[in-house]
């Protein structure tokens, strides 16, 4: 008996049904980004290990031949920023798109495959509301392109960060408080804020910032909860982005988004779709983190595939051919034709039926194996026989 070797935890095989629709989805997204002027680039999957990489703790590391440490690509943005600094130092604005696999050593569970395909955009060199709105619009269009009904939610982690600064909250306390805000866990928030003896209005603002979610009218509430000039400035940035949109009724806001406070410096956004419980796209502005001015988003292909309606994609070959010359005509026209490896006609016919192949191509011509196949006339035309 042979031992069955399975792929490592958090990785898996992709079979034709899924591989086909994955390729189609990638093609649609690339085309969308192309029509908006985003140029495709690629970066190596092998990187020099850098402890300051935003995902350094999650990356797979191993030794190079000379003993230095290498890491597998765990995120596109850092490598892209190197590519940009080396090749386009002054070329602004710069619009790039990418697509490829990343490897993240998170604990493998339902949510975290360790190898997955990411597709995304970077808009570099400009920091303004027009640039942010373009990315948010493209996040929505990305989901529409694949047939989903999107809702994009905007946040601004600098709003919470500014509240922390105003309340002079110690660095050591910030992570716990930000986490409670992000989880909308008011009970924990209360117990964390109480011992700090903050000014009443700041205490109130920090306690209630996690409830500032909803449609764009939430900005007004935010203004009255946090009327300080510093927080007003952060709200104004969102307001400017929203006014770029002709129809902002579908936009959602959550001012309690408080993840990666030191990485994101402006708007952050997530895209959802109905009846799927997890965000499909995440992005935002990270001026100064890797490049002076940059924003972008990325989309995990595998999760997106799970959100798509399950369709029966045709994976079987269309024609089984015993004749090479007419097969060449069909292939030239783009049809999928398998060359039979059998010499016996009955055997070939049986094989085709078992494999769900719809036509048999013999010296007598095209023989349909299923009735009323929609492509029958097309195929005859391609063979130069159809005038029926």
């Amino acid at each position: 008996m042979t031992t069955r070797i399975t792929p490592p935890d958090g990785t898996r095989f992709t079979l034709p049904e899924e591989a086909i629709s994955k390729t189609e989805v990638i093609a649609k997204l690339r085309q969308l980004y192309h029509t908006w002027g985003y140029k495709l680039v690629d970066v190596p999957a092998l990187e020099k290990y850098d402890p300051n990489h935003p995902r350094a703790h999650q990356s797979f590391k191993f030794a190079d031949q000379d003993g230095s440490v290498l890491a597998l690509r765990s995120d596109f943005t850092p490598a892209l920023s190197q590519l940009i600094r080396a090749n386009y130092p002054d070329d602004v604005p710069l619009r790039l798109q990418y697509c490829g696999d990343v490897w993240q050593g998170t604990k493998p569970d339902f949510n975290a495959t360790r190898e997955f395909t990411q597709i995304g955009l970077e808009l570099v060199g400009v920091s303004n509301a027009r640039a942010d709105a373009e990315l948010i619009h493209l996040a929505r269009e990305s989901l529409r392109t694949v047939g989903l009904n999107p809702r994009v939610e905007l946040g601004n982690p600098s709003f919470v960060k500014t509240l922390f600064d105003l309340a002079e909250i110690e660095e050591t306390e910030r992570e716990k408080i930000a986490d409670a805000i992000d989880r909308k866990d008011q009970r924990t928030l209360q117990s964390l804020l109480e011992p700090l003896n903050l000014a009443k209005d700041l205490h109130h603002a920090l306690l209630n910032v996690s409830d500032l979610y909803g449609d764009i009218h939430i900005l007004k509430e935010a203004h009255s909860l946090a009327p300080w000039p510093e927080t007003t400035r952060e709200l104004k940035r969102l307001d400017e982005i929203i006014s770029e949109f002709e129809d902002s009724s579908e936009l959602l806001l959550d001012l309690g988004m408080a993840r990666r406070l030191s990485y994101y410096t402006g708007v952050t956004f997530r895209a959802y779709t109905f009846d799927f419980g997890q965000p499909l796209i995440g992005g935002g502005r990270y001026d100064g983190a890797l490049l002076p001015f940059a924003a972008g988003f990325s989309l995990g292909l595998e999760r997106l595939m799970r959100a798509l309606p399950k369709t029966q994609s045709a994976t079987s070959t269309l024609v089984l051919s015993l004749e090479d010359a007419p097969a060449r005509l069909l292939r030239k026209a783009g049809y999928s034709v398998e060359r039979t490896l059998m010499t016996d006609l009955d055997e070939a016919r049986l094989y085709a039926q078992q494999k769900g192949i719809a036509f048999l191509l013999t010296e007598r011509g095209l023989e349909p194996l299923v009735r009323n196949h929609p492509l029958y006339t097309e195929l005859l035309l391609a063979l130069g026989e159809g005038h029926a």
Partner: protein, 228 residues
Amino acid sequence: MKIFFSVLGTRYSSPLGFTVSEPKLTEKLTLALPKGRVMGESLELLRRAGMNLSSSENGRTLKYDAGDALLIEMRNSDVPTYVELGVADAGIVGKDVLLEMSSNIYEPVDLGIAKCRLSLIRPVGESHVIRRVASKYPNITLDYLHGIGSSADVIKLSGNVELACLTGLADAVVDVVETGSTLKANRLEEVAVITESSARFVVNRAALKLKAGKLRPLIETLRELVKT
């Protein structure tokens, strides 16, 4: 010049051939509730919050339409998974389970029911160095042990954790204590309280935003109810 965006409510026929379905805004909420005693208290709270919910007819139905919501019943430790993946829009589960699982969900209301504490428990009078701790909560236990500078081993058990102490499988256990009567009967004592727990109303991250019309008022009413 502004970018043109499609108007709310338009139907998109996508290039992939799927038709985009419009959100069904009238759709009922799906709630994940833990089996057992907390189930009754949870239902009562939800009813007081204005939801019209019937009880399951024979008590054996795992998933049923209770009127104002679809209810699914499960082990409490499965609730965060159902909610995180969005199979349930919201649910009720103990803070102890949430701390153990660190799920990526919202927990906006402390319902104040199913109150208990998670404690370090040892046989009465024992005080030698702890080398092995058994628990249903291995993550919380490890965090606690690291916090007090202990390098004891942690083993995960599924039920009757106290037995580990009584049989010598472990020097101590970390478990839920409600009244303490089980401990007394088995000559065990609480050495330290690690954390307090109570049931939380938890919500899926996407659902809170996409079904805000139903969830937001419910959260507000529940908060008012537990305040008094």
